[in-house]
């Protein structure tokens, strides 16, 4: 149609996605988290694929809806948000800068795993987000959300949470 409507670019979509926060970690966006695995625009429709952090993450429906709402605002005729089962989310997918934001938020960022294998040693090299001491210990591998573990810092004598490396 000769309507003169400007085409919506992929950059605009990524920019819109920057407005979608992870409801359990409000300082990070779905882009920071590395959850978006694809943006495909055809004509005036877009398909966005995303990979959930944990299989049973209860926030997934909220996140899908928020992605839909934000991207729809750009003016697409149709927006589809699909779950990508082929790309495995790991904490290594977090974007540069995301880990700093996490630490400022008071949540120790996950260590880089590079591969699947998680060792006890990796779990024990965690820096306290409050005083930055590495003299910390794992109290429980399970915390207030599926993606968090509870740790304790011997230096500042405070408990803190860590984003689990997976």
């Amino acid at each position: 149609m000769e309507t003169g409507i400007l085409e919506i670019t992929e950059e605009q979509v990524w920019f819109a996605l920057e407005n979608v926060k992870d409801p359990e970690i409000p300082v990070l966006t779905v882009v920071d988290m590395g959850m978006i695995t694809g943006v495909a625009i055809t004509d005036n429709s877009v398909v966005i694929t995303m990979t959930p952090t944990f299989v049973g993450c209860p926030a997934i429906h909220v996140i899908k809806q928020s992605i839909y709402d934000e991207v729809k605002k750009l003016g697409f005729d149709s927006v589809e948000v699909k779950v990508d089962f082929e790309t495995k989310w790991t904490s290594d997918r977090m974007k540069d800068g995301a880990k700093e934001k996490l630490e400022k938020f008071g949540l120790a960022p996950p260590v880089v795993l590079n591969d699947d294998e998680l060792t006890e040693e990796q779990l024990n090299r965690v820096r306290c987000p409050h005083c930055h001491s590495t003299d910390t210990t794992l109290r429980s591998a399970f915390g207030s959300t599926l993606c968090r573990a509870i740790r304790f810092c011997f230096n500042c004598k405070q408990g803190f949470e860590q984003f689990k490396p997976v």
């Binding site: 944990f54 299989v55 049973g56 495995k88 429980s140 399970f142 915390g143 573990a149 509870i150 689990k164």
Partner: protein
């Protein structure tokens, strides 16, 4: 082939659903806050795994949607092993069950990462990373309590003795096993059982406990064929209580 695959997906999903519900029964009554959180988190993970498996059944095999499969099937249609349906009992039993069951889960998913059935291989890679934390949790507490006081040691040993014949029931085979092996879908229950014994034995020993003797005649089979203990039905009734108040409600 599709029947063998469906059977595998159902038994895995039903195991996850039932143990997930049982784990959730610790919510609010855990012996300490961390354990309350641990069992609640593991419950959430398991229900997520069940949902993912039911979704494969739904989208690739034309079975009903995940909610229907989870909440609207009869007891006899569930393929879960009897081990997962046992009541949570006291904490010693729950931790022993969690330890024994999750070692089997981790190994099963690990084997499935090599599966010729891609959707399951992909899911397995993801789920493995989560179950590692469950296994770590089980190992930690089994060792701490096994090496704890006289009382904790005695309780752990008796829980282990009680759980053992049920745990071996996880590896109940049926006529589809050979097909899954020959098609490269899954290396089979016997192989899984061998690997499982190799993993749990050193942890039990490090905990200062004895690996119970295996009496082949006492292994609790039946769950995979839909024969369950008296504990599953009341559990399902509780689990589906809200759904049944208005069976056609839209959620």
């Amino acid at each position: 082939m599709s029947n063998a695959l469906k059977n595998l997906l159902y038994k895995m999903a039903d195991d996850a659903l039932v143990i997930g519900h049982r784990n959730s029964e610790w919510t609010g009554i855990g012996p300490m806050l961390e354990e309350d959180l641990a069992f609640s988190s593991m419950a959430q993970d398991k229900i997520g795994h069940a949902q993912a498996l039911y979704s494969i059944l739904n989208t690739l095999f034309g079975e009903a949607d995940p909610d229907t499969l989870a909440f609207k099937r009869q007891e006899k249609d569930l393929k879960s092993c009897q081990f997962v349906e046992l009541p949570i009992g006291e904490y010693d039993f729950s931790i022993v069950r969690q330890f024994l069951f999750d070692h089997a889960e981790l190994l099963r998913y690990d084997m499935l990462t090599q599966s010729s059935f891609q959707p399951l291989a992909q899911l397995a890679k993801k789920v493995k990373g989560e179950i590692k934390y469950h296994v770590m949790h089980g190992d930690t507490f089994v060792k701490q309590l096994g090496n704890g006081s006289e009382e904790s040691k005695a309780r752990m040993q008796s829980a282990l003795n009680y759980a053992w014949p049920y745990a071996l029931g996880i590896f109940e085979k049926d006529e589809t096993d050979a097909e899954l092996i020959s098609e490269g879908v899954f290396a089979g229950e016997d192989e899984l059982k061998t690997r499982w014994l190799q993993k749990v034995t050193p942890v039990i020993e490090a905990a200062g406990l004895k690996v119970p003797a295996t009496d082949e005649t006492k292994i609790v089979y039946g769950g995979r064929k839909g024969f369950h203990s008296e504990y599953l039905k009341p559990m399902l009734e509780e689990m589906t209580e809200v759904t049944r108040t208005d069976i056609d409600a839209e959620w």
